[in-house]
């Protein structure tokens, strides 16, 4: 099987700091791939390179086997790669519908849209409402309420719904449960599985081992700017994973061989 999104030999340096050191990456179709690693391991840089937020100094990224080069998050989005950032990237004073369609607004058909460039609010609100109810988020009554009046979990839900609504190829979730309570985390994990059930592969960056082991199909362990190994959560325990990512334990030849998947 061909990986849907892959990277070979990514390098990124910030002055003397090496964030990515000849890093490889593979995401298979329809899977949830967790990316774990200690602070400073370069997870964020890897994700930013894949989502177009930074340009790697060297190395190639492939989407569906074709080489791509994202110069901005907009490029990546146009290619069908959607990212939910840890900060959520939403404008607090604007409404849910405004936020969901930020940067890809729909205009009215005909004269009003083409000449007067008027937005089709009714249509955007309809789609936003539909996307939220598909993901069971219709506890939000008013699609026009400002995002700053929502709770943390609701905001996360809106951000995931935005990504799910437009991400046709890949969805990247950066620490989606870090700021949430137990119940809200559960809701977001269910959301992630709903999205996978629709056939869209997900990259999940998380520090929360129970969450990672619950939903991930494979786990990419990142250490010192490169992929240390890829493990199957069914074959390893959480303490093994933590040992790998902190360097307390090295993967055996066989485990490191898992890296060859997709090559």
């Amino acid at each position: 099987m061909e990986p849907i999104l892959s990277a070979r030999g990514l390098n990124k340096r910030y002055g003397k700091v090496t964030a990515l050191n000849n890093c490889d990456f593979d995401l298979m179709p329809g899977e949830i791939l967790a990316v774990i690693g200690d602070n400073g391991a370069g997870k964020s840089s890897l994700i930013k390179a894949l989502s177009g937020a930074i340009r790697p100094d060297s190395g190639d990224i492939f989407l569906d086997g074709k080489k791509v080069s994202f110069s901005s998050p907009i490029d990546a989005r146009n290619a069908g790669v959607e990212t939910v950032y840890q900060t959520l990237a939403m404008s607090p004073a604007l409404s849910i519908a405004d936020n969901m369609f930020m940067g890809r607004e729909l205009r009215k058909p005909g004269f009003m849209g083409k000449v007067l460039r008027q937005l089709d609010r009714a249509e955007m609100e309809r789609i936003a409402r539909q996307k939220l109810s598909e993901l069971g988020l219709m506890t939000i009554q008013n699609i026009n309420q400002a995002v700053e009046t929502l709770s943390g979990g609701q905001r996360q839900g809106v951000a995931v719904a935005r990504a799910a609504a437009f991400g046709s190829r890949v969805i990247i979730l950066d620490e989606p449960t870090a700021a949430l309570g137990v119940k809200e985390s559960r809701r977001v994990l269910e959301l992630i599985q709903d999205v996978r059930a629709r056939g869209i592969p997900i990259i999940l960056i998380s520090h929360n081992m129970p969450h990672v082991f619950e939903v991930a199909d494979r786990i990419h362990v990142h250490r010192l700017g490169q992929r240390l190994c890829v493990i199957d959560p069914k074959d390893y325990t959480m303490s093994d994973a933590v040992a790998f990512m902190t360097g307390a334990k090295l993967p055996s030849v066989h485990e490191a061989g898992a890296e060859a998947v997709g090559n």
């Binding site: 937020a53 998050p73 907009i74 989005r77 990212t83 950032y85 900060t87 959520l88 990237a89 939403m90 404008s91 607090p92 004073a93 604007l94 405004d98 936020n99 930020m102 940067g103 890809r104 607004e105 205009r107 007067l116 460039r117 008027q118 937005l119 609010r121 309420q145 400002a146 700053e148 009046t149 929502l150 709770s151 137990v182 119940k183 559960r186 129970p210 969450h211 082991f213 619950e214 959560p233 959480m238």
Partner: protein, 352 residues
């Protein structure tokens, strides 16, 4: 795995209730919500109240269509510049160069006609182009070179003002000359009356501009992006807004509107004077702040600025008709500014 299963068992009997305080929907919290979704409401109420108070004190002397449209004429220029200022402040910036751009553009229009002998229409187009170009420099320095708007526009203010004096040689073009040779320059000074109400073309331009900008800000993608950039530029960038493009276009549009204000200024004072309009910076910021547009960006509406400009006009005419010292106007305007910012802070604390 087992750990998670244990955690989940605890969730089986979970209740859906979240910790909550007894929440009273008071009149005050309803008001806070109403203001949160309609930021132009406060200046509208203040405007209505001040018209009512001065109307009661002065009777028909104030409460006539003539006096009320006189206010419009008096605030038209500050209002037009205030519209430019509103756009900039919505992006969490500030434009201190608005007044200087206005004067320089009007001087270009006048001097190009009389010194270079250009047809007035061409000279006006040149003046508008100069205003837009200065706006572009502002926007480029802020968006590309990433200098703070306050510093950039402080510098451009001085540069534009000095250019204005150097180029014009401190020379005023007299109203009679303009009237006889290039009446187009005074176009916005013409007026028509309607049942005692007098509308100059400048006032009409002001109103049309506000309606146009209100439409653009509310109903086009560009308008929503202006708000998003002011609200949280990083979030806007990540959700696919070209923030640099938006910032540069906002400052360019601000420069163009200020150049139009320069043309309206010629109509209002009749002559082209390099020393006119010096207080337009501060007055436009005053109108914007009283109009409830947040100096931190992303909140407020251009209609609020319209009401804010009118409030200033109502106070100054009303107090003048009452025979009060002009300093009372400044004193009250100062109090209004502080009150408006206090209300803005309160509205921001709105909770769900």
């Amino acid at each position: 795995m087992t750990n998670q299963a244990e955690v989940d068992e605890g969730l089986v009997q979970r209740t859906e209730a979240v910790a909550s305080f007894e929440h009273q929907v008071t009149l005050l919290s309803r008001l806070q919500h109403a203001l949160h979704s309609n930021p132009a409401l406060v200046p509208l109420i203040v405007l209505m109240m001040s018209i009512a108070v001065f109307g009661a004190l002065l009777g028909t002397k104030f409460f006539s269509s003539f006096a009320l449209t006189l206010i419009l004429q008096q605030v038209a220029i500050v209002g037009i510049v205030g519209a430019a200022q509103s756009l900039v402040i919505l992006t969490a910036g500030i434009d201190l160069s608005v007044g200087a751009i206005m004067v320089l553009s009007s001087v270009v229009m006048g001097q190009f006609t009389f010194r270079l002998g250009m047809p007035p229409a061409v000279a006006i187009a040149c003046g508008l182009a100069v205003g837009t170009f200065i706006g572009f420099i502002n926007g480029w320095l802020i968006a590309r070179v990433k200098l703070p708007p306050f510093i950039v526009t402080l510098g451009i203010w001085q540069i534009a003002l000095a250019t204005n004096f150097l180029y014009s040689g401190n020379e005023t073009i007299r109203a009679q000359e303009i009237e006889s040779q290039a009446p187009l320059l005074q176009f916005f000074g013409h007026s028509f009356s309607f049942a005692g109400a007098v509308f100059t073309y400048g006032v009409i331009f002001f109103i049309v501009l506000v309606v146009f900008l209100a439409y653009v800000l509310r109903h086009t993608a560009w308008g929503r992006h202006v708000y998003a950039v002011g609200d949280d530029p990083v979030a806007a960038e990540l959700s696919g807004v070209n923030t640099k493009h938006i910032l540069i276009s906002v400052y360019m549009l601000s420069g163009l509107i200020c150049a139009f204000a320069g043309w309206v200024l010629i109509g209002r004072i009749g002559s082209v004077s390099p020393t006119s309009g010096q207080s337009a910076n501060i007055e436009s910021i005053t109108a914007v702040v009283i109009g409830g547009i947040s100096l931190f960006g992303g909140r407020g509406s251009i209609l609020g600025m319209f009401f804010g400009a009118l409030i200033v006009g109502v106070f100054s005419l009303g107090l003048r008709l009452l025979g009060a010292d002009a300093q009372w106007t400044y004193l009250l305007i100062g109090a209004l500014i502080i009150g408006a910012v206090a209300i803005d802070q309160w509205i921001r604390k709105v909770s769900a």
